[in-house]
C-alpha cells in the first residue's frame, strides 16, 4: 500500500530518502521495562488486575439506571466467574445435616465457611466487586468535582479563591470517618449514598492538588497565548489547562482508590449494621472479631489451625490489606513514571 502511494506522487518530488526509523517498542517490551524499573509497582498492578478479574461476571441483557451494587455499569452482572458458589448459598454437613459453621478449608470450600455456613472464598470474590465499584464511583465523583473546583479556584485567584479555599478548609476539618458515620446513620443503608459520601470526603484533597498544579500551569506561555487570541475563560480552562494537568489527575485517582477502598472497609467494620449487608470484606472481618475461642492450646500457628474462624479473619483481612497495598504501590509507581515531582498526601 505504502509503496503504491509513493509511486503515485508526481515525479518532480525526489524520492524520499530511505529512513530506518527506530522500531517502536512493543507493548510486551514496555511492560517488561516497567517491571524491571518498578518491581513493586508491577506487583501492585498485578493485584489490581487480580481484583478486576474477580469482578468479572456474565452481564445480563437489561439496561437500567446504574445502581450499586447490582448494576454498577448500568447492567446487572451475574455471579463472578471466579466465585465457586453463590454468595448466599448455605451449606450443610453431609452426615448430620447441620449448617456447616466455620468449616476448615477443603477442596469444596477453599477458605472454609463462615458463621452462617456460606463459602468464604466465594464471598471474598463477591466482595471485591463491591469494594472496587464503590471506589470507582467515589473517585469519579471526587475527581470530577475536585478538578472543577480546583481549576476554577486557581484560575480566577483573588478573593474568589480565598473564599473557596476557606470552605474547603472547613470540609477538611471534618474527620473523614466521623462524617461518613454520621452520613450513613442519617439515611437508609445504601451503597450509592455511601459512594457519594466517600467521594465528597475526597473532594478536598483532590482539589488541593489540582489547584497547586493549575497555579503554576496558568502562568505558562500557552495559556497567555490562548488569552491573547481571545479565548474565553471557559475555553482556556477546558481546552488548554485541563489536558495539561491530566497526569496528576490520573495519579490522584489511582492513589485515592486505595484510600477509598480502605475507608469503605473501615466503615463496614465499625458500623456493620448501618451499611448494606451484601458481601463485604469489612463486615467479614467484623464477624470474626469477637469470635475468639476461650482457652486454645499454646502452639505456633494456632491462629490458623486451632480456630477455624482464623481462616475467615485471614481471608477478609488479607484481601483488604492486599487491595490497599496493591493500589498504593501501583499509584506510587504511576506517579514516578508520569509526574515525578508531584507530591500526593
Amino acid at each position: 500500500m505504502q509503496a503504491e502511494d509513493q509511486q503515485a506522487q508526481p515525479a518532480a518530488i525526489a524520492a524520499p530518502r530511505e529512513w530506518t526509523l527506530p522500531k517502536r517498542p512493543s507493548v510486551a517490551a514496555n511492560i517488561w521495562k516497567f517491571t524491571r524499573r518498578k518491581p513493586l509497582g508491577a506487583f501492585g498492578m498485578l493485584i489490581v488486575i487480580a481484583m478486576l478479574a474477580m469482578t468479572l461476571g456474565t452481564p445480563k441483557a437489561e439496561f437500567g439506571t446504574p445502581d450499586l451494587p447490582s448494576r454498577p455499569l448500568g447492567f446487572e452482572l451475574g455471579k463472578p466467574w471466579l466465585a465457586r458458589f453463590d454468595a448466599e448459598a448455605i451449606f450443610r454437613d453431609v452426615d448430620t445435616g447441620r449448617i456447616a459453621r466455620y468449616n476448615e478449608p477443603s477442596t469444596t470450600h477453599w477458605l472454609g465457611t463462615d458463621k452462617g455456613g456460606r463459602d468464604t472464598y466465594s464471598r471474598m470474590v463477591f466482595a471485591a466487586r463491591r469494594s472496587l465499584f464503590i471506589g470507582l464511583w467515589a473517585l469519579m465523583f471526587a475527581t470530577v468535582i475536585g478538578t472543577a473546583v480546583g481549576v476554577v479556584s486557581a484560575y480566577f485567584r483573588g478573593w474568589f479563591d480565598t473564599i473557596v479555599q476557606r470552605i474547603m478548609d472547613s470540609f477538611q476539618a471534618f474527620p473523614a470517618l466521623l462524617i461518613l458515620i454520621l452520613l450513613v446513620s442519617l439515611r437508609p443503608p445504601s451503597l450509592t449514598i455511601l459512594a457519594f459520601g466517600l467521594g465528597f470526603v475526597g473532594v478536598t484533597s483532590v482539589q488541593r492538588i489540582v489547584r497547586g498544579v493549575v497555579l503554576s500551569t496558568r502562568e505558562q506561555p500557552f495559556v497567555e497565548a490562548a488569552r491573547v487570541i481571545g479565548a474565553t475563560d471557559l475555553r482556556t480552562m477546558v481546552f488548554h489547562i485541563l489536558p495539561n494537568i491530566m497526569a496528576p489527575i490520573i495519579v490522584v485517582f489511582s492513589i485515592g482508590l486505595g484510600a477509598v477502598i480502605l475507608a469503605e472497609a473501615a466503615l463496614a467494620f465499625i458500623a456493620p449494621q448501618r451499611v448494606p449487608q451484601d458481601p463485604s470484606w469489612g463486615i467479614m472481618l467484623q464477624q470474626t472479631r469477637d469470635a475468639i475461642p476461650p482457652f486454645p492450646p499454646f502452639a505456633p500457628f494456632t491462629i490458623l489451625k486451632g480456630t477455624p474462624q482464623g481462616y475467615h479473619t485471614l481471608a477478609a483481612g488479607g484481601a483488604i490489606a492486599l487491595a490497599v497495598l496493591g493500589f498504593n504501590l501501583a499509584g506510587d509507581a504511576l506517579r514516578d513514571v508520569l509526574d515525578p515531582r508531584l507530591r500526593v498526601g
Binding site: 476539618a173 458515620i181 454520621l182 472481618l285 472479631r289 494456632t302
Partner: protein, 335 residues
C-alpha cells in the same frame, strides 16, 4: 507574627461557622427517616391504636430534636446554643453532651498522644538508619517493612493482634469505663489514676496505631534526611572532621525534622479517625467508642456533638502546628 496569628484565628472562626452549618444541614437531609428510625426506639405509653402510638412517638422525637419549628428558626436556636457551648442532651441517657465529651476526652487524647509517641520512637531511628545506609540491605529491608505497614489497615492489624494475644498468650486487655481509666478531675474522686490498668488498656492500641503512622513518618523523614545530607553545610561539617554522630544528630536531623513536624500535624486528622476504630476494637472508653455506640442507638445529638467538637479541635491544632512551624523555621514568611 501577631498579626498573622490574629488573622488565622479569625479565619478559623469562619471555618468553624461553616463546619457548624454543614453539620446542621447534614442532619436535615432526610428528617423523615431520622424521625421514623428514632421513633422506633422510643416507647410511648399510648392509649389507643398502634398507629396512634407511632404518630405520638414521631411527634415526641420531632419535639425532642426541635424539628417542629421552621428551618430558619431551628438554625437560629442551633447557633445560639452552640455559642453558649450547649450541645443538647443525649437521647439515651439524657446526659449533657458537652459534659460527657469532657469526661471521655481524656482516654482519647492519651491514646492519640501515645500513638504519636510510639510512631516517633519507631520512625526517627529507623528513618535515620535507612537514610545514612541508603541502598544497603538494611535500607531495603526497613523500607519494605514500612511499605507493608503502610498497606495493612489499622483495623486488620488490630484484629490480628487482639486474636493473637488471646490465642497465644491467653491475654486480653481488661474492660473498664472512663471513670476508672481516667477519673477527671482526679482529685475529685480521690482515687487518682490507676497507672497499671491505664497502660494495660493503652499499650496495644497505641502500638498498633503507632506502627501505621510511624511508617508514613519514617518514609518522609528518610527522604528529608537524604535531601539535607547533600547540602553544602553538611559537607563542610564532614570536612571540618566532626564526628559522624554530631553531623547526623545535630546538623542533619535538626533540619530534616522541621517538615516532618508538619506532617505529624497533618496526620492528626488521620489519628483521630484511626482512634475511632482502635477504641472500638480495644474497648478504650473514649469519644470514639462512645460515638460508635451512639450510632447503634441512633443518638443524633451525641454524634452531632462529637463531630463538632472533634472538627473544632482539629482546626485549632492545625493552627498551632502552623504557628509552631513558623517559629521553628524563621525563614517561613507569614502569608
Amino acid at each position: 507574627m501577631q498579626q498573622y496569628i490574629l488573622r488565622r484565628v479569625l479565619l478559623n472562626l469562619l471555618v468553624i461557622y461553616f463546619v457548624a452549618t454543614l453539620v446542621f444541614l447534614l442532619l436535615r437531609i432526610d428528617t423523615d427517616y431520622v424521625v421514623t428510625q428514632r421513633a422506633g426506639q422510643t416507647s410511648v405509653a399510648a392509649s389507643g391504636s398502634s398507629e396512634d402510638a407511632t404518630e405520638q412517638a414521631k411527634k415526641l422525637v420531632r419535639e425532642d430534636l426541635g424539628l417542629d419549628k421552621p428551618l430558619l428558626k431551628q438554625y437560629w436556636i442551633y447557633l445560639g446554643d452552640l455559642a453558649q457551648g450547649d450541645l443538647g442532651e443525649s437521647f439515651q441517657a439524657k446526659d449533657d453532651v458537652m459534659t460527657e465529651i469532657g469526661n471521655r476526652l481524656g482516654p482519647s487524647l492519651e491514646l492519640g498522644l501515645l500513638q504519636i509517641m510510639v510512631a516517633l520512637v519507631i520512625a526517627v531511628p529507623i528513618g535515620i538508619i535507612s537514610a545514612i545506609r541508603q541502598d544497603s540491605i538494611v535500607d531495603y529491608v526497613l523500607r519494605f517493612v514500612s511499605i507493608a505497614f503502610l498497606g495493612i489497615p489499622v483495623f486488620v492489624l488490630a484484629v490480628f493482634v487482639l486474636r493473637g494475644s488471646a490465642i497465644w498468650l491467653n491475654y486480653t486487655p481488661p474492660l473498664t469505663t472512663y471513670k476508672d481509666l481516667f477519673p477527671f478531675p482526679p482529685f475529685e474522686t480521690g482515687r487518682g489514676v490507676d497507672v497499671w490498668m491505664n497502660l494495660q488498656i493503652m499499650f496495644m492500641p497505641a502500638i498498633v496505631g503507632g506502627l501505621g503512622t510511624g511508617a508514613i513518618i519514617m518514609r518522609f523523614l528518610r527522604s528529608q534526611m537524604l535531601e539535607v545530607m547533600r547540602q553544602d553545610y553538611v559537607r563542610t561539617a564532614w570536612a571540618k572532621g566532626l564526628r559522624e554522630r554530631v553531623i547526623i544528630m545535630r546538623h542533619s536531623l535538626k533540619n530534616a525534622m522541621i517538615p516532618v513536624l508538619t506532617v505529624v500535624g497533618l496526620l492528626l486528622g488521620t489519628i483521630v479517625s484511626g482512634n475511632v476504630i482502635l477504641e472500638t476494637i480495644f474497648n478504650v472508653p473514649g469519644i470514639g467508642l462512645w460515638v460508635v455506640n451512639a450510632i447503634g442507638t441512633l443518638d443524633y445529638p451525641v454524634v452531632q456533638g462529637v463531630v463538632l467538637v472533634v472538627a473544632v479541635t482539629l482546626v485549632f491544632v492545625n493552627l498551632m502546628v502552623d504557628i509552631a512551624y513558623a517559629w521553628l523555621d524563621p525563614r517561613i514568611r507569614y502569608g
